[in-house]
């Protein structure tokens, strides 16, 4: 199966561990991963000002790349990229006037009207690969590893683009079960890690991250699975529960070489925990 893939800037640099573990896992699951050519930054944060169209040009341009390169679906992993691309896509599909304004502004590009479907990797794994197939390919199930499925803000908000409704965490729990781990239900799953506040208000981030980690710990989690480099950065500072990208856990369960997960880029001693449990 061929898939069009949008990595995003951070996955190419500070979060190479997220990209490499994801791409290697997808290949192990039989996918041919085609990175979109000439992609640009997704914009990182979706502008909430209704008439601020210039900040929506970046994600739309990426979706145009997918369309002109023959894709009708694009898979992305970073929660921020997913959110920005999915919301810009929805706007181009539903708001005729804004669609027209943006298409006219980008007169060097082909017109776009939301033809591409934006998929988060978790959704792709469930719907296009299937948990049964994942289970089949697992060589080293992460048996008894208690993992808190962490969604953060942008995977479920707003509802129209959420990978599943707020309050439900079945998608990542289903994923964790498929790789043999035990999903731990905890109240911090959809709480914000503090996000970009880390730049101006580090204390607020410490509070937010501390709360998430302590609720995960209280619920009995040994590890936390994230899909966002900013969450990993903010939560990783709290040492009590080890933060992984869900793709690193997938790569370990598929029995891939630990090198693809580049644990040295995680905060804390991520590889150590998996080694101690004989998962690596």
């Amino acid at each position: 199966m061929k898939i069009k893939y949008y990595p995003g800037c951070t996955l190419k640099y500070k979060a190479k561990n997220l990209e490499d573990s994801a791409v290697a896992s997808l290949e192990a699951l039989g996918c041919e991963v085609e990175e979109i050519e000439r992609w640009n930054c997704c914009g990182a944060v979706y502008s909430l000002a209704e008439d601020d169209l210039i900040h929506k040009v970046a994600p739309v341009r990426d979706l145009i790349r997918v369309k002109e390169q023959g894709g009708d679906k694009v898979v992305t992993i970073c929660s921020m990229c997913y959110n920005t691309l999915a919301r810009a896509n929805l706007m181009m599909k539903e708001d005729e006037e804004k669609r027209d304004t943006i298409n006219r502004f980008m007169d060097e590009e082909i017109d776009y009207a939301g033809e591409v479907e934006v998929l988060h990797l978790l959704t792709f794994l469930r719907d296009e690969i299937g948990w049964d197939k994942v289970k089949e390919k697992v060589k080293k199930p992460l048996t008894d590893l208690k993992v808190a499925p962490y969604y953060g803000c942008t995977l479920q908000r707003p509802e129209e683009v959420g990978i599943e409704p707020l309050g439900s965490f079945e998608l990542m729990s289903g994923f964790l079960e498929a790789i043999g781990a035990i999903p731990v239900d905890f109240p911090g799953a959809a709480m914000c890690c503090g996000s970009y506040q880390v730049l101006g208000n580090a204390e607020a981030v410490q509070d937010a991250a501390g709360k998430i980690i302590s609720t995960a710990q209280t619920a009995g989690a040994e590890a936390l699975a994230a899909s966002c480099p900013l969450c990993e950065y903010n939560l990783g500072k709290e040492q009590d529960v080890q933060i992984f990208y869900f793709t690193q856990l997938l790569a370990a369960a598929l029995g891939l070489d630990a090198e693809v997960s580049r644990f040295e880029l995680n905060t804390g001693n991520a590889g150590e925990l998996l080694k101690r449990k004989n998962f690596l």
Partner: protein, 262 residues
């Protein structure tokens, strides 16, 4: 050329002097708002000179490569803004013309040996790179058709080699910076990236290192001394009688008789 031939030679368009070819039509253009009639076949640069302007800067190679003559123009009845090199772009009727010999942009100071080869260095020296909104005005403004947005994106993605490759044709004219919504100096960022690429990423030439060491050790001092103190006659003789590799010699097989400096 004899004196007679010189006076009889027809006047040709040469250098900065534009001479109207016989029968050429003229068209109106507006240079900084004022109307001039210029021959229709001229480039913008020649048309401005034909109209009496003299370039004391903002003109260089006149061959479309040096980047000294970026020009911005508009066409009658068209809201769009156009860019080009004045030495390459041919005038059209009712064009609005002006030259932009220089565009202000900050270039940060750095020591290439100290900053290292990671993208972090570029991000720290030019944090405004993250103000990019992917509007693509930079690419539209580039007279060399460089995909400016693509190399700025590569910088954000930390890919120095890709950014260096895409920005390779940049002529440092600054038109990208003139149109940037994020107010960044793309052309200076691209230059820094290419320097980092050359210093830290591109494979170094081993034979060059060896030769530099030889020069520093004084291996060629005597030879240079002999040559610089030689009479012109002797030097000419030495040059004309020098050993030379035959043009079609198979590569790597030919050796000179005198091998003391190899």
């Amino acid at each position: 050329m004899s004196e007679t031939e010189k006076t009889q030679a027809p006047k040709m368009a040469t250098g900065d002097r534009a001479i109207l070819p016989e029968g050429a039509r003229t068209i109106p253009v507006y240079i900084m708002g004022k109307r001039y009639e210029v021959p229709e076949t001229l480039t913008i640069m020649k048309a401005m000179e034909y109209s009496g302007f003299k370039f004391v800067r903002g003109a260089g190679c006149r061959g479309g490569i040096c980047g000294a003559c970026p020009t911005v123009y508009r066409k009658a009845g068209d809201y769009k803004i156009y860019f080009g090199l004045a030495c390459q772009t041919v005038v059209e009727p009712d064009m609005f013309l002006a030259q932009i010999p220089f565009y202000p942009a900050n270039r940060t100071a750095y020591d290439l040996e100290e900053i290292g080869g990671e993208a972090d260095a570029v991000h720290a020296l030019y944090p405004e790179v993250f103000r990019c909104v992917a509007c693509n005005n930079c690419t539209k403004a580039c007279p060399m058709d460089v995909d400016v947005l693509a190399y700025i994106s590569a910088v954000k993605q930390g890919d120095m080699a890709k950014a260096a490759e895409i920005s390779f044709d940049c002529i440092q004219c600054g038109m990208c910076a003139s149109r940037c919504m994020g107010e960044m100096p793309q052309f200076h960022i691209g230059q820094l990236v290419r320097r980092i690429y050359g210093r830290y990423i591109q494979p170094q030439a081993e034979h060059l290192k060896k030769r530099v060491e030889e020069i520093n050790s004084g291996k060629y001092d005597k030879m240079l001394e002999d040559l610089t103190s030689m009479s012109k006659e002797k030097l000419t003789k030495l040059y004309t009688e020098r050993e030379r590799e035959p043009d079609l010699a198979p590569s790597g097989e030919w050796m000179p008789e005198d091998t003391q400096y190899l």
